[in-house]
C-alpha cells in the first residue's frame, strides 16, 4: 500500500520540524528517509504512524486520508530505535501482543508467532525474556512483533542505530532479504547515508524540515539537486564553488595542460580503496580515492608534486561543468528531466 504525504507542517515551540513536506512512497517499495538529526525525518515517520498529529497537511495511506485515524486503525507496524521491547513479557508474548489485543484465538496466535519467529530467525527463543537477548535479537523480535498484525506499512525509526557496527551491517542485509520475502511497503528512517544507499530502493533526503531531493540512490549520487544532497550522499571534495567526488579526482602528470599541480600530503592504504590527500597550488585541499593497483603504479609519497585532473567537478543541480562528451551531456539532461519530475 502506497503512502502519500502532502504539504505536511509541524511546529514544536517555534521549531519547524516539518516545513511543507510532500513525499510519495510507492506501494511495495523500501524507502529511506535520510537526513541529519533535527531534519524532521523521525517526526515525518511518527506523523505517518499517527503518533504525532501534524499542524496541517495530509497523510494518505493506500489513497485514503488517514489524518483522523488513531494509530490502531492505520494498520502500520512501527519499529523503534531502542526496540521498545515489553520487558515483562516473554518473546512469545511480545510478538503475539498485537494479536492478543485483537482477541484472536490462542491457538491461532501460537501458530502465527512460531511462523514469525522462524521468519526472523529466533526459533527456540520464544520463552526467553527480552533482557536475555542481544541487541540484534531484540530488534528482530520487535520486527516480528510489528509484522504479526500484518501491517499495510512497516515504519522503522533508526532501527539499527543502537547496535554496534558489525551487527548493524548484518541486519541491513537481512532486512533487505526480508523485504524481498514479505513485500510490505517499508519506510526506514536513518542518518547513515551508507545504510540508506545499501537497503533502500528510493531515498528521500531531508534537511531542516524540508525535502531536499528524492529519487533512487543512483539518481541522488549522480545528479544531486542541491549542495546539501551532494555533500550528504556520498563523499565529496569542495573546490571553489564546485564539488567533485573523490573517485573522480584523477592523478596525472604535473606537466599536462589539463592538470593542476598539487602536492601529496599523505597516502593512506585502506585495502581496496585508498586515499591520497593533496594540497592544490592555491592552498585548497582535496583527496582522491584510488584503487590498489593505481596506488601501486603511482607510489605517492609526501611532498611529491603531481598533477590532478579535476575536470569532472560540477555544481549541484547544474549540468556537469567540464563535461563535453555526448555521453556526459546525455546524463546531465536525464538528470534535469528527473529533477523536473520531482519538484521538491
Amino acid at each position: 500500500m502506497g503512502i502519500t504525504v502532502r504539504h505536511l507542517r509541524k511546529t514544536y515551540d517555534g521549531f519547524r520540524a516539518l516545513d511543507d513536506v510532500s513525499v510519495e512512497v510507492p506501494d511495495g517499495s523500501l524507502t529511506a528517509l535520510l537526513g541529519p538529526s533535527g531534519s524532521g525525518k523521525s517526526t515525518l515517520l511518527q506523523a505517518i504512524a499517527g503518533l504525532e498529529a501534524p499542524d496541517s497537511g495530509e497523510v494518505l495511506i493506500d489513497g485514503q486520508i488517514a489524518n483522523a485515524l488513531p494509530p490502531r486503525e492505520r494498520h502500520v507496524g512501527f519499529v523503534f530505535q531502542h526496540y521498545a521491547a515489553f520487558k515483562h513479557m516473554t518473546v512469545r508474548d511480545n510478538v503475539g501482543f498485537g494479536l492478543r489485543v485483537r482477541k484472536r484465538p490462542k491457538a491461532e496466535i501460537r501458530v502465527r508467532v512460531d511462523e514469525l519467529l522462524h521468519l526472523v530467525q529466533l526459533d527456540g527463543y520464544a520463552e526467553r525474556y527480552p533482557a536475555q537477548l542481544s541487541g540484534g535479537q531484540r530488534q528482530r523480535m520487535a520486527l516480528a512483533r510489528a509484522l504479526a498484525v500484518e501491517p499495510r506499512v512497516l515504519l522503522l525509526d533508526e532501527p539499527f542505530g543502537a547496535l554496534d557496527a558489525r551487527v548493524r551491517e548484518e541486519l541491513r542485509g537481512w532486512l533487505r532479504r526480508l523485504h524481498d520475502e514479505v513485500h510490505v511497503t517499508t519506510v526506514l528512517v536513518t542518518h547513515d547515508q551508507e545504510e540508506a544507499m545499501e537497503i533502500a530502493s528510493r531515498i528521500v533526503v531531508m534537511n531542516q524540515g524540508r525535502v531536499e531531493q528524492s529519487g533512487t540512490p543512483t539518481e541522488l549520487y549522480e545528479h544531486p539537486a542541491t549542495e546539501f544532497v551532494m555533500s550528504f550522499v556520498g563523499k565529496v571534495n569542495r573546490v571553489g564553488d564546485a564539488y567533485i567526488r573523490p573517485h573522480e579526482v584523477v592523478i596525472c602528470s604535473p606537466d599536462r595542460d589539463d592538470c593542476l599541480p598539487a602536492t601529496v600530503d599523505r597516502a593512506v592504504m585502506l585495502g581496496f580503496d585508498n586515499r591520497i590527500e593533496l594540497t592544490l597550488q592555491g592552498g585548497e585541499r582535496v583527496w582522491a580515492q584510488v584503487t590498489r593497483q593505481e596506488m601501486a603504479r603511482l607510489t605517492p609519497f609526501p611532498g611529491q608534486v603531481v598533477g590532478v585532473d579535476l575536470s569532472r567537478r560540477r555544481r549541484p543541480g547544474a549540468a556537469e561543468a567540464a563535461s563535453t562528451s555526448p555521453e556526459g551531456a546525455a546524463i546531465a539532461a536525464a538528470g534535469a528531466i528527473r529533477r523536473d519530475r520531482h519538484p521538491e
Binding site: R72, F78, H82, A84, F86, K87, F97, V101, A131, R145
Partner: protein
Amino acid sequence: MTSRYALRAIALGYLGLLVAGPVAMMLWATFSGGVASVWEAIARPAFLHALWLTLLIAAIVVPLNTLFGILCALVVVRHDVRGKRLLSALLDLPLGVSPVVVGLALVIVYGRRGAFGGWLAEHGVRVIFALPGMVLATLFVCIPFVAREVIPVLREIGTEQEQAARTLGASDWQIFRLITLPAIRAGVGFGVVLTAARALGEYGAVAIVSGRLTGRTETLTIHVEERFLAFDMTGAYAASLVLAALALTIFFAMHARRPAPRGGR
C-alpha cells in the same frame, strides 16, 4: 579488611541500639507478667475493637490511595497540563506538615462549628469524632507514598513501550493494564507497603479527630497510649507487639511477592 568489619559493626550496632534492643526489651517486658495476662489483655473488647477499627481504616485507605496515587503519578509524568507543578507540590505537602496540624485542619473544616461540618451535621453525617474523620486524616497523611514510588519508575520506563503497544492496536485501557501497570508493579507494591505501615501506625492526626472514645473511636496506637496512661503496662506492650507484628507481616508479604529483578533494557 579491618575497616570493613568496623563499618559493619557500626551499622549493626547503630540499628541494634535503636531498633533491635528496644523491641527485644518490649518483648521481654510483655511476657514478664506471664502468658495468661497477655492473653487477658488482647481478649479485652476494647483491644479487639481497636484492632478491628485499625484494620478497617487501613482497608479503606490503602486501596483508595493506591488508585489515586497511580492516577496522580500518571498525570504528573505523562500529561502536559497546567498546574502540574502545583499537583506535584501538593503530593509532598503531607510529608512536610505535622499530623497534628492535619488533624486540627480537619476539625476546622468538618467540626460541628466548621465551614462544612455544620451543614453535614444537619444532614445527620458526623465526621469528627467518628470513622469518616479518621479515614480522612489517614488518607491525608498517606497521600505521598504510592505516587512518590511510582513517579520515578514511570519516568524511567519512558513512553516507547506504550507507543509500541498503541501502534500494535491496543486501546488506552489495554495499554495501561498490559504494559504500564506491570512495568510499575514493583513501585506500586512498595508504595502499598509504606501506605499500609503508615495507616496502621498513624497517631497524631487520628488522635485529634477521633476524640479517643474507648471502644468506639480508638485505634491501636491510641489504645496503646490509653493503656500506658492507665498504668496497664502489659496491655500497652501487648497491643504494641500486635501492631509491630501486623507491619512486619505486610512488609514480608510484599517482599516475597516481588519478582527477582531482571537487568537490561
